[in-house]
Amino acid sequence: MPGNSVLIIGGGPAGLYAARSVADVGTPVVLVEKREHLGGTPVTANYASFTPHLEDAETAMQRMVNDVSSDPLIEILLQTRVTAGSGGPGDFAVTLTSRSGETRELNVGSIIVATGFDHFDPGRETQMYGYYEYEDVLTLVDAEKMLKAKNFVRPSTGLPPKRICFIQCVGSRDRRLGNEYCSKVCCGVASKEAIEIKELLPDAKVFIFYIDMRMYGFWEDQLYWKAQEEHKVNYIRGIVTEVLRRGDSLVVKGEDTTMGRPMEVPMDVVILSVGMVPSAGTIEMAKVLNLPRERHGFLETVGAPLDTVTTPVPGIFVAGAAAGPKDIEDSISMAGTAAMKAVSTVRRHLKQAAIASSMGGGGE
């Protein structure tokens, strides 16, 4: 029996937008989220604001969550996972398991996987950044949390730092790690955080050590020029290899490549611009729904670049960072596209089923 609804796996920005879009055209949605809250990574990781407009993340996500709550067409299941799946487009049978162990069988017409990404664990990094040794070494996520609370301090002292640096490409663009891709957003996010830090601590010196600055489209002046010109953030071309402690400071070793000399400079806080890796949820759904993963480990799509959401499994679509590093605009765009394709799959199969039964076919 064909399903008349769309299953959306993952309640982050992509999943929420897709749910809203599917419901907007009158198709029922079942939105499944393994955590006990909606909002995805921006909420779990306490993002302060979105790149590049610096819109407050909590406000934005609350708006997205409100948009799907209290809608009779959208059924929200928190603390629930998809644990089995079979069937084909128009007629998928999935098993949902709640945290208490209760299961429920569901029949849907199409599926959108929006399971997002995980932040790279800096303990796996090739370079010696000391994240698990020094509390003043942070990731972008640790920094977001402090920026959200409008209280940016050196963890070891609790006092505002005077010298802060970002190290780009942590966990990305590294053959020795096997992460042979760019995580796309970290240059923008680091610049955004640099601006936010300077707004809180105008006298602090902020450095960004990079290999290349990835400033797509309007990020160029919205972030890069703004950070340099309005906030005097120092961009230094040359990446860091080691972070160690010397006395009261951290010390970072790198090369200032445009000046052509090795450098060793003290810092109070080091922020590692960690990249994206396929999330645990993505890996799990790939297994459960037999979705192939492409060579970087993310969900494979077919038809790129003119189709960003269709997986090799008919009737299953992907939206957001489950398919690879994406910024928030990419995720939202994909969600809209996936919603449209998911709805058309449902309708096409419902229509075919209706035609078949009206032609006096087999029993129902």
Partner: protein, 404 residues
């Protein structure tokens, strides 16, 4: 439930900073496991893989994989620099084996790995280096004992050679033909094992036999570049030390013995050995060792001793301090291998076994702090020398080494 409640996002923010604990997952290791390749090639008839003896201890390497370290029945691949001018280093390694009752052999059918010359002068090539390596491996195989490498440079070099032999069939063929002319099969050991990995694996047994209290000794550790930077995944890591982020091979030993390990900000820096530099361009080596390692250790950690696990590092750090002192630099840290330190802690004779008279920096304050009566020991050793001089004895023996 059909979404009748609007879920506020702020309720979810975690209040406490989560504990930073790094978990390794060997299933997620980013590199191939070279040992699988060794066995694949063996199955294709390319060579014979010498297996690690059954009496072994498992340790963890960088990506969470297991490496097996043989406890005994080892063929000791000696180091030029150790045997040549730090004889207490190799003697201590042998002494530790003997004290623990571990069977080993000390072969004369062994050449240098020749890597010191190779890295210094490039008067060699990939084929010669590989052939020298496998000739030594074949010599070990003929005795049935498993190679145990004494020098850090040899160890790193052999790890690289292994990679090259696995990935270049032409090289394998060339080397196999050379071995055939020598009447030897092509052998590769299942693991390349460094003696410091043996000491690490055996550290609890060593600590049990400790007779001197070292809890008042502060140690700085210098890890050898060729141990952990070459073929980086094959080096010992411990999730409880350095957050699993730095090689723990020596540090674990020092802590198990009960001494204090102090950190310093140039931990990852090379000592400055340079292979060629230490012989013919010593200003570089001396400057680097003094300014980047010894002075930093002294300023930041003020250790009683610095311990390392490689020939070149002991040489560089020990021999660079004399001239530096003449220039008023802040130096004066005795330099030992961890083998010698462990042996001293176990009661080894500082001169008969640890051969400290070959070292440059004054080690006597360290011995005094450990409670070792070096004057009495030196007097004993002088008597040994007299017996050799008079012809009463030809050589100092292992029995003499432990006599009291």
């Amino acid at each position: 439930m059909s979404g009748e409640v609007s879920i506020p996002v702020t309720a979810i923010t975690r209040g406490t900073i989560p504990q930073r604990v790094f978990q390794r997952d060997p299933a997620n290791a980013p590199t191939e496991d070279i040992r699988e390749k060794l066995f694949e090639l063996e199955a294709q008839g390319e060579w014979i893989v010498q297996r690690v003896p059954d009496d072994n201890i498992e340790v963890m390497t960088k990506y969470g994989r297991t490496k097996r370290i043989p406890r005994q029945f080892t063929w000791h691949h000696k180091s030029c620099g150790q045997c040549g001018h730090i004889p207490g280093y190799s003697t201590s390694i042998f002494w530790l084996h003997r004290q623990l009752g571990m069977e080993y052999n000390d072969p004369t059918d062994q050449t240098s790995c020749t890597a010191w010359n190779y890295y210094a002068s490039a008067t060699s090539n990939a084929a010669a280096q590989a052939a020298v390596a496998v000739r030594n491996f074949a010599a070990a195989y003929e005795t049935g004992y498993f190679p145990m490498i004494h020098c850090g440079t040899s160890y790193g070099h052999y790890k690289e050679t292994r990679e090259q032999l696995v990935h270049h069939p032409d090289l394998r063929k060339q080397v196999r033909d050379i071995m055939a002319k020598l009447g030897k099969p092509l052998i590769i050991p299942e693991e390349i094992v460094h003696y410091s990995e043996w000491i690490h694996a055996m550290r609890f047994e060593i600590a049990k036999r400790r007779v001197f209290d070292v809890s008042n000794i502060t140690v700085t550790v210098h890890p050898a570049c060729h141990y952990y930077k070459l073929v980086a995944e094959d080096a010992i890591y411990d999730p409880d030390l350095y957050g699993g982020q730095r090689t723990a091979v020596i540090t674990a030993v020092v802590e198990t013995l009960g001494a204090k390990v102090a950190d310093y900000s140039t931990w990852f820096d090379c000592c400055g050995f340079g292979f060629r530099h230490i012989l013919v361009q010593r200003d570089f080596t001396r400057s680097f060792a003094t300014l980047r390692k010894i002075e930093r250790m002294k300023e930041e950690a003020n250790p009683d001793v610095t311990l390392t696990h490689d020939t070149g590092c002991v040489t560089t750090l020990d021999k660079s301090q004399f001239a530096a002192r003449a220039h008023g630099r802040n130096v004066g840290i005795p330099v030992l291998s961890e083998a010698q330190f462990a042996a001293l802690a176990m009661g080894a004779h500082p001169y008969r076994v640890c051969q400290l008279h070959w070292h440059s920096v004054d080690y006597r304050p360290l011995l005094e702090k450990m409670g070792i009566d070096w004057q009495a020991r030196w007097a004993e050793f002088q008597q040994d020398i007299e017996r050799l001089r008079s012809g009463e004895k030809q050589f100092l023996t292992w029995e003499d080494a432990d006599a009291r």
